[in-house]
Structure formats: structure tokens, C-alpha cells
């Protein structure tokens, strides 16, 4: 992004109050960590001029929410419950079912739970933009200012290691001659 930095001190003062657009790639990332990064930036807590009443949060665009990676067995064990208030309408969905129904719902609920529980929460949620794949609409692409680094380092699959690296890895034990590998 070739943006021109403002030169005069008056423009610096104006630029500190500008609203930036952050991009996060959620591929192979834990949704909780993504959500905490989003909530910090939506509230404006990453700025030294923070005040809870001043509405200085930024926009956050999360892409590839379909390729989120829960650790452990959370896809089967984490349950999202909802009740509309009418009798018999208590619904419980596992994370896998929720994700299949709506690929952006997990991150949306996570961020909603991490924002402060006051009236500004809805406006902050409106500034959060979630996309299941990395196809972003043009008007959002034009607004993006910064991409944030991913919180989790993606480990490489065995197939992504070259044969030389595999040979260079130290042997933990030498199997005997007549050992049969499965």
C-alpha cells in the first residue's frame, strides 16, 4: 500500500484519529486467538489515545474463516447453545455443525463475547468484516491499510519436508535388523 505519510504537524494530529482497516488471515489459526486480536483492535485498545467513550476502534477484515483450526477435540466437544425464549426451542450445536451451517459464525460469536458488554458492542461488530474464503469485495480491498501477522505458526506437514531434511533429522533409535515397520 503506497500511502503518503502526512508531513506537517497539523496533519499528524489529524492522522492519529483516522480509522484504519486491518486484515487478518485466519487459515489454520485458532479462532480464539484471532478473536482476541480482533476485539483489541475493534475497541481501539491498541492506540495510546484509547478511551472507552471515544469510539476510536478500527475496522478488521478476517478472511479464510472457513479454514479455522480448533485445537484438541473442540470441533466435536464445543457446544454453542441458544434459546429463543419460546418453550422447546433450546438448540445445542457442536462447533462442527455450526461451522457447516455458517462458516463465519464461530469467529463472530467469539469476538462478540470478547467485546465489552455495553451499547458500543453492536457498532464494533458492524466494523468487523468476516469472509469465509480469501475472495474479498473490491471496496474492502481498496480500504485495507495493514495486514496483521498470524498468531500461530503453522507447522509443516510431513509431505512438505524435502528428502534431504528428512535424512538430516537425527535418528532417535536404530531399529534392529529384523524389525518390521508397520
Amino acid at each position: 500500500m503506497g500511502c503518503l505519510l502526512p508531513q506537517s504537524p497539523h496533519c499528524w494530529q489529524w492522522a492519529t484519529f483516522a480509522r484504519s482497516w486491518f486484515l487478518i488471515d485466519a487459515r489454520m489459526q485458532p479462532p480464539g486467538k484471532i478473536a482476541s486480536m480482533c476485539s483489541v483492535r475493534l475497541q481501539g485498545k491498541h492506540k495510546p489515545i484509547y478511551h472507552p467513550l471515544s469510539d476510536i476502534g478500527d475496522h478488521v477484515v478476517v478472511m479464510n474463516t472457513r479454514h479455522i483450526a480448533f485445537s484438541g477435540n473442540k470441533w466435536e466437544q464445543k457446544v454453542y447453545s441458544s434459546h429463543t425464549g419460546y418453550p422447546g426451542s433450546f438448540k445445542q450445536l457442536t462447533a462442527a455443525q455450526m461451522h457447516k451451517k455458517d462458516p463465519t459464525a464461530i469467529i463472530k460469536l467469539a469476538v462478540y463475547g470478547m467485546l465489552p458488554k455495553n451499547l458500543t458492542r453492536r457498532t464494533m461488530m458492524q466494523r468487523l468484516h468476516l469472509f469465509p474464503d480469501d475472495v474479498l469485495p473490491e471496496d474492502i480491498l481498496k480500504n485495507l491499510t495493514e495486514e496483521l501477522p498470524q498468531p500461530r505458526e503453522i507447522p509443516r506437514k510431513l509431505s512438505e519436508y524435502t528428502q534431504e531434511e528428512r535424512n538430516a533429522f537425527p535418528m532417535l533409535w536404530t531399529p534392529p535388523e529384523d524389525y518390521r515397520m508397520k
Binding site: 485498545k45 491498541h46 495510546p48 484509547y50
Partner: protein, 136 residues
């Protein structure tokens, strides 16, 4: 010299913004004014707390911009005997960003010195600070 008149003369400027009959009717107004005074007294104490909380949040945000966490910053500035309080740190972080950057660099240097001294073999580190510094 009626007490009623005295009350209205003294408090009419205070209760103009009250809702409903509390801004007009004596019995309701008396109760509302007393509550307002009590809230104001409690808030004068709470204001100091909330201001400190705001300074801490701002200093934490600014130090995270410089890749350092707030507890590490404060502890290491303390170890360097830099006695800047949170109010001043907050103002520096907003109006003097470069000074704040140099303070975080100082704290970071002190921190790495401390870690190396704790984990190392006891040799003198080739830095600015001596690990034998004692706080007065």
C-alpha cells in the same frame, strides 16, 4: 428568610438537568439533591481510580506498539530507578512518542540484561547496566 427559598436559591443551578418532577417539586428535589451530592462525593474518589486505570491502558497500548508488555515495562523502569509515574508515561506516549520509544528501549535493554544474568554463568554482561545495581 424562609428555608424553602434558601433551598431553591442555592440548588436551582444544580438540579436544572434532573428528569421529571425532581427539578420542580420540593420534596422530590430535596431527596434527589442529597443523592446527587452523595454520588459526587463517591465519584471524587472513584475518579482517581478510573484515571489511573485509563493511564495504565494507554501505556500498555503504547508499549505493545513498541513490542513490549506493560508489566515488563514498568518493572524494568523501576529496576533502572526511572521514577516516572503512569500519568507522565501516558502523556509522553501520546505527545512525545520518540521519548516513549527510548524509554521502552531502556526497559528492554535492562530486561535482556536481567535475563542473561539470571540464565547465564555469572560473567559480567557487555552492556550499559551492571547487575549489581541496588535500588535505594
Amino acid at each position: 428568610m424562609s428555608l424553602l427559598g434558601m433551598f431553591w436559591n442555592q440548588t436551582v443551578c444544580l438540579l436544572q438537568h434532573f428528569r421529571g418532577r425532581k427539578n420542580r417539586c420540593y420534596s422530590l428535589a430535596v431527596r434527589a439533591v442529597r443523592r446527587a451530592f452523595v454520588y459526587a462525593s463517591k465519584a471524587r474518589k472513584a475518579k482517581r481510580r478510573s484515571m489511573r486505570q485509563l493511564w495504565i491502558q494507554r501505556v500498555a497500548a503504547a508499549s505493545r506498539e513498541q513490542h513490549m508488555k506493560y508489566p515488563a515495562l514498568i518493572h524494568n523502569l523501576l529496576k533502572c530507578s526511572v521514577a516516572l509515574n503512569r500519568r507522565v508515561l501516558c502523556d509522553l506516549s501520546i505527545t512525545e512518542p520518540r521519548s516513549f520509544q527510548s524509554l521502552t528501549a531502556l526497559a528492554h535493554a535492562r530486561r535482556t540484561e536481567g535475563l542473561r544474568a539470571a540464565l547465564g554463568d555469572g560473567a559480567e554482561p557487555p552492556g550499559v547496566f551492571s547487575r549489581i545495581t541496588q535500588l535505594q
